[in-house]
């Protein structure tokens, strides 16, 4: 890193530079706390609390044998991880965009690098949750028939599918967060307000149409006939749409003080 000679204009052609995108991804790890360390601490804390609650219930009923076998199978604790990652994605996007431009990155390099990092996060956390599920199943639900990492719908799903579903769920939440964050980066708090008002209007409109035309039959039918892997495929599509939307929004964003 001691090169001091000025490069000639000839090598300044705007060729793609993958290492700059990689470095944009690395920007998110310069301070690993928010996206790489804190989530594990939060998941561990949620799991520990859940486990303690199980023990309290077991003590109160006088032993595991007095509980129905599915008592601890319905648990949404692990889903906080998804919500947390959504928020982490919003933060990461909002905070590093202006810094990345300050370090002479293009928006494109920054966004592609960041998207790559987000996919990496989904793989890491999806795999982490799946490993939790593996241990959970091997220990007969942590010794108490509990389900935390593969609860509810996932309880009897093959572990390979659990893996795919976790990764896709992380992708969906992280890229949703990224897309919402780009609205903020582009238009500030006004943009976010307009977005959520618009979203609320859409939801209410959908509910109205649902009530008026009684769509419960086809909707329930769709859910009943769609397999988890088909859901996963739709999840990937949704995440991809969010990802493209985020890029289109960020392409014309400017760093504001």
């Amino acid at each position: 890193m001691t090169a001091a000679t000025l490069s000639t204009p000839a090598d300044a052609a705007a060729t793609p530079r993958p290492h700059r995108m990689f470095n944009a991804a690395r920007l998110h790890t310069a301070n690993p706390w928010t996206t790489l360390l804190l989530p594990w601490i939060i998941y561990a804390a949620i799991f520990a609390l859940t486990y303690v609650i199980w023990q309290i219930v077991i003590t109160n009923v006088g032993g595991v044998e007095n509980l129905p076998p599915d008592a601890f199978r319905y648990n949404g604790g692990a889903y906080w991880a998804l919500v947390y990652m959504l928020i982490a994605a919003v933060q990461a996007m909002n905070l590093t965009f202006r810094f990345a431009l300050g370090m002479s990155l293009t928006r494109r390099e920054y966004y592609l690098g960041t998207a790559g990092y987000f996919v990496f996060l989904a793989l890491v956390y999806g795999t982490g949750m799946t490993l939790g599920a593996v241990v959970e199943r091997a220990t007969d639900g942590w010794g108490v028939g509990g389900a935390f990492f593969a609860a509810q719908l996932l309880y009897e799903v093959p572990i390979g599918q659990v893996w795919i579903l976790w990764i896709v769920q992380f992708l969906v939440f992280i890229f949703l967060g990224a897309a919402v964050a780009t609205i903020y980066v582009r238009w500030g708090s006004t943009g976010i307000t307009v977005f959520f008002i618009g979203l609320a209007a859409l939801v209410v409109g959908a509910l109205y149409l649902h009530a008026k035309y009684d769509a419960s039959q086809p909707i329930q039918g769709w859910f009943a006939t769609t397999s988890l892997m088909e859901f996963a495929a739709w999840g990937v599509v949704f995440a991809a749409v969010c990802g493209v939307a985020g890029y289109l929004l960020l392409r014309r964003a400017t760093p504001r003080a």
Binding site: P16, N31, R98, T106, R107, T254, A257
Partner: protein, 295 residues
């Protein structure tokens, strides 16, 4: 000489405000140049346009012959340090310095470490908790150590004390001498930076009002000092920018003196001295340029 920055009719309008108005300038080859102007004159916006961070409303900006907007080939040779730079939450000085070599290919780590020591940047402190001067110092370290072929420094020493500012000028000049490059420096502190500047661009209300070599600009006016009667006699009928009197002694700053005029003034027993750039710019822009208090 290679043209580093070239703008033609460059204009940026925000709702109701024209921040940069029809700016056409060209900077070529290595040099340290000043972009001077009052608060809100458009210095930062112009630099953001040059670094591709803002989109022009009309007109054109070319850096190294190409549009800088979304142009990695241009941006990787450019470093833009601004006072209002936002850093990610929880980032410490050392995190920022760690990323320097990732993005600036001429980054010199040894120099960065030396600057950190000289400016006393608290690298282990969270940036949010740094003082304005410490944040400026961190920016100055990156700006100098990046050794980018085009370095834009927007108010690089806001909040720095006099000692740190002196260090900044010394380091900038020393490193520039060893590694010539194009540096555009915006500042309120005209006289302090004057000795460094080759070319002076003065921006006022978004428009470039002065674009001249610093030496030429200085040569357009001279300060004469001597006995009040002699001074008054010489100055009568000439364009006087500034006048002051102390007892029987007086000084005037006059423009448009020829060599013969200068010789005549010297013969009349008047003492000649070059005029301060700041005084000149204040006069030429017709409004006082705000002088930032050293804190």
């Amino acid at each position: 000489m290679t043209t580093i920055i070239e703008t033609t009719g460059l204009t940026k309008r925000y709702r109701g405000v024209t921040a940069v108005n029809d700016v056409s300038v060209a900077l070529s080859g290595p040099g340290i140049h000043g972009l001077l102007g009052r608060n809100g004159a458009g210095k930062t916006t112009l630099m953001q346009l040059i670094s591709g961070q803002e989109f022009a409303t009309s007109g054109e900006v070319r850096v190294f012959g190409e549009s800088p907007v979304e142009n990695a080939g241009v941006l990787r040779r450019t470093c833009f340090i601004k006072e209002s730079q936002v850093y990610p939450d929880g980032f410490k000085g050392k995190h920022v310095l760690k990323t320097g070599p990732w993005f600036f290919e001429h980054w010199n780590e040894e120099l960065a470490q030396q600057l950190v020591a000289d400016f006393r940047v608290p690298v282990n402190r969270v940036i949010k908790k740094m003082s304005r001067g410490q944040r400026s110092a961190l920016g100055a370290v990156i700006g100098i150590a990046s050794r980018a072929e085009l370095t834009l420094l927007d108010e690089p020493y806001a909040g720095l004390d006099a000692v740190a500012r002196r260090l900044f000028y010394d380091h900038l000049l020393a490193d520039y001498t060893e590694h010539p490059r194009t540096i555009l420096l915006s500042t309120h502190l005209i006289d302090e930076a004057a000795a460094l500047l080759e070319r002076v661009l003065v921006i006022d209300a978004g428009a470039i009002v002065i674009d001249e070599d610093a030496d030429t600009l200085r040569g357009t006016a001279t300060t004469l000092a001597g006995r009040a009667t002699d001074v008054d006699a010489f100055a009568s009928g000439r364009e006087v920018l500034d006048r002051s009197r102390l007892g029987g002694l007086a000084t005037v700053t006059v423009t448009g003196l020829t060599d013969a005029d200068l010789a005549a003034a010297a013969a009349a027993g008047l003492e000649l001295s070059p005029v301060s750039l700041q005084q000149l710019i204040v006069r030429r822009t017709g409004a006082p340029i705000e002088i930032e208090e050293a804190s």
